[in-house]
Symmetry: C2
Subunit: 558 residues, 2 copies
């Protein structure tokens, strides 16, 4: 078992040259743009040449509602990828990139854990290949061009009070949430209220992760709404003529990044949109590229299945035409106990009753996922304290739900610990049973889409909203945005909007407080709760202890 | 001759794999961290292992005062490097990196021109290897930690009115020059006035370019003054505990970048501090590494010799213990004519008299440079309209100054056009005649250092300043900063502070309007004029026309 901290295991990794990892997927060295010896981007020209090839099988890893006990969704994604490699399959993993800023607040983390990790860990928590910096630059170029446009005469007649495009930094900086800019006199423009979000909250990030190619990227960037005129007509990024230059800044960032697991399974780590006000999945271009190159692609979605998987299906798969072949739903005995009502301090003792109670959360997710027409397999991510009776209780429960549950020990053993899971997942995917369909049709009204998700996925009895919000949705429908999917922003800790309500609550009310149009990304965000788009640093930020040690390694980041 | 635009020549470059370029300097492939196939960083461990090796010869390229006619300092730097390679020497070039933001205002530029260029041009004008992004992140992490420190109790008792550390972005954004932050209530901290500078103006940039190694980098970062208390004692970055995390963010950026000229001469392109409020040279670590690996290192300094060369000698060489062996002073017939009083429209016709008049500027620089004890060679960067009589007039004049002038045709012919210059420069450097010494001793008072530069380099009759400024200098001396060199910030267009005063003015007055202490970088800035540290975009920003063409190449950036 893995008694060592993740960072130690990661540092001891026997990393292979990235060209060797690319070679496993048939990528010739000249089409890998290296960033050091252990990271590379896959060249656009090579990706363009893959069109027409047959796709591999797509496997989504999702989880029950997160608890402080931990579920290990990414760890299982990595473990399953390694398990597939181990049983002789050509497998690839697709996950999101980490945001730099938050690592200086709370400690950063591994991609995975124990012996199921993606490396290089330090770089992936720092600048990596610069994608997020490119997004920051592209976003802020547009911001500068908007204020510049107003400064030099405002041909577009932007209403200064209605500039909705803010600025971004990949930094936790509460001081930038609300600012007044352009102070200091005539030379500096027109003073106005605005602020900064963290880079992962940028619509540019969501677009990068949904765009088909550079042409589609530019089209979507141009369609972003940056402001409104006095008559409330929207001003688009293309009206400011920023879309071309933004695309140039994002050209390299659009190429997916290739790294490796500890067991040398290829991993595409690309893009990282927020899972609340955005869809929370890695880029479409990475997933598509992986599907062309590998027989099995294991990917994951943010948060629990009620948010992450729903958005993966209804936004990413719908828009990119992806057809998932199997879903792996991750649970831990400890997390099920918390869903069964136990406190974090009570998790060590065996408690089969609490596990059975908590299975209600698991069961709800199984049925929801089946509702999308995709076969479901449960992965029990093993922790050392789990008892055999507890594990058996989950397996029995899952069978009763018409699915199967596999105990996985990848944290302690790597891919060896997921062989059984990998074998079954491959069989199920190969059987071609998936009849994937999104939850609702494009033609449904925006309001009904929100209701549909709330009722069918969250089991809410009602969705409430001001008439102002409903009127806004109707206005967007009149402007031609009615076909867009909805992107729900609510707490990830419960099916309801109350983070304390674990298990499988019924009959609750979902209040929609605000709606936002991401016209370039192509979804309407329904905000059901407080969403923070610029985090702050804690009283004792992790940054205070981060430093290089004598060996030149990073201390304090993990 | 080169009739093609620089960008076309750059695109047609027959680029060699960067490992081959590194091989010319004896850098093994495993010590080159590639960024794509044509850029790499030289690994820190390899650099550390070079200690004790003999240094090559150091050649500084500088120029007469810049005019709208153009001098071609970087072009000559590149041409001389190629010329040295061509005559069989192991040569390397060291120049600064380009800032991303300004390229979206006015068009970006080549590193060099014609057939004397460094490539890849597009990448060098965009994200390159991410160094400036890393500096932006490190700078803004400190900013966030300062406001966070105040928010959580302000243990250091920072005076909110005296926070001097601002934020930075690599973007021309006038709206950010003066801002109020932390608005919106208790959760967002204490509102205060502040603003953003462009990244190249960050003290972090100056430090990265002067630091010996990562340990020295961290020490210097910790010594930066970020605020003052009510009792006016300084608060340092180390008091906020930001120095370790900033160093981690800058670890990769501290490794010099290696690229190549069109003729495959190795070029280190690393760091890019402002040439006004900072010293305007590439990094010490790049120059030192190049000196260990090449027999001849050609580098350049910002602006004309009165600013750039003076700072190169008095700040960079003094602090890094570098001993330049030869200075190449670049002039063009056209620029000399402008210094001789002609307008830009009058430059095409032969005018030997104007050339002779303009030589006063050249002569002043020659004598100034000789004053540092370093042999001077003049390079006449040839333009097609130059007449033989004009060229002869310059050569005669320069001989009268006790130096020699060589006609160079590298723009049209590459290294072939600088063979004569390269041969002589190598001979002079090899002869070991240089007796380099900085202009003033460390022990001189700060005020006298300013006077010394103004009188001996600018030929001013007087330096004026408020008693407030003199008192500030004395206060810094009392605090132990008296040994620092001064960094003059004045117009680059004249020896005087009047940009219209060409030639070799005498007896002018230099008014010092403001002084700033860069305690981490290690110099005191004397500002003699208006210095803009956050540019704005013009009415029609270049960004509006920047886009990818069908071939995926960048259009409109150049």
């Amino acid at each position: 078992m893995a008694a060592k901290p993740d960072i130690e295991i990661a540092r001891e990794a026997d990393k292979r040259p990235i060209q060797e990892i690319g070679g496993k997927l048939g990528i010739p060295p000249e089409h890998l743009l290296p960033y050091g010896h252990d990271k590379a981007k896959v060249a656009q020209d090579f990706i363009a040449g893959l069109e027409g090839r047959k796709d591999g099988k797509l496997i989504l890893v999702t989880a029950i509602n997160p608890t402080p006990a931990g579920e290990g969704k990414t760890t299982t994604t990595v473990g399953l990828g390694d398990g597939l490699s181990r049983i002789g399959k050509t497998a690839a993993i697709c996950i999101r990139e980490a945001s730099l800023g938050p690592n200086f607040g709370m400690k950063g983390g591994a991609a995975g854990g124990g012996y199921a990790q993606i490396v290089p860990m330090e770089e992936m928590n720092l600048h990596f290949t610069g994608d997020f910096h490119a997004i920051t630059s592209a976003h802020n170029l547009l911001s500068a061009m908007i204020d510049n446009h107003i400064h030099w005469g405002n041909e577009q007649e932007i209403d200064l009070r209605r500039v909705v495009w803010r600025r971004v930094l990949d930094m936790n900086d509460r001081a930038l949430r609300h600012t007044v800019t352009s102070l200091g006199g005539v030379a500096n423009g027109f003073p106005r209220e605005t602020g900064f979000d963290i880079t992962v909250a940028s619509e540019v990030m969501a677009i990068l992760c949904l765009a088909d190619d550079l042409a589609d990227l530019q089209r979507r960037l141009g369609e972003m709404i940056v402001a409104y005129r006095r008559d409330k007509t929207p001003v688009f990024a293309r009206d400011i003529k920023a879309d071309g230059a933004m695309t140039v800044l994002l050209r390299d960032a659009m190429q997916p990044n290739l790294v490796q697991t500890l067991e040398h399974t290829p991993a595409f780590v690309h893009g990282g949109p927020f899972a609340n006000i955005a869809h929370g999945c890695n880029s479409v271009i990475a997933t598509r590229t992986a599907l062309k190159l590998a027989d099995y692609v294991v990917t994951e979605a943010g948060f629990g299945a009620d948010l992450g998987a729903e958005k993966f299906f209804d936004i990413k798969c719908r828009k990119a035409g992806l057809h998932p072949d199997c879903v792996v739903l991750v649970a831990t005995i400890r997390a099920l106990k918390m869903n069964g009502g136990l406190a974090k301090e009570e998790l060590s003792a065996e408690n089969v009753t609490a596990v059975r109670e908590g299975c209600a959360n698991l069961g709800r997710h199984i049925q929801n996922l089946k509702g999308f027409g995709v076969p479901v397999v449960v992965a029990i991510n093993h922790f050392t304290g789990d008892s055999e009776a507890e594990i058996a209780a989950v397996q029995t429960y899952v069978e009763g739900q018409g699915a199967e549950a596999h105990l996985c020990t990848h944290w302690a053993e790597g891919g060896k610990g997921t062989e059984a899971l990998a074998t079954r997942v491959a069989e199920i995917a190969d059987a071609g049973q998936s009849q994937f369909a999104p939850l609702y049709p494009d033609e449904m009204s925006l309001w009904h889409k929100i209701e549909c998700v709330a009722e069918r996925i969250y089991h809410a009895s009602e969705v409430t909203a001001d008439t102002r919000i409903r009127a806004q949705l109707e206005e967007w429908e009149a402007q031609g945005y009615g076909h867009l999917p909805v992107c729900m922003a609510k707490t990830q800790y419960s099916f309801s909007t109350d983070p304390g309500l674990r298990g499988a609550p019924e009959g609750h009310v979902v209040p929609v407080r605000e709606v936002r149009l991401s016209a370039g990304a192509g979804f309407v965000v329904a905000i059901c709760g407080d969403i923070m788009t610029m985090p702050g640093l804690p009283r004792r930020p992790a940054a205070e202890a981060i430093r290089l040690n004598a060996a030149g390694e990073v201390e304090g980041l993990f």
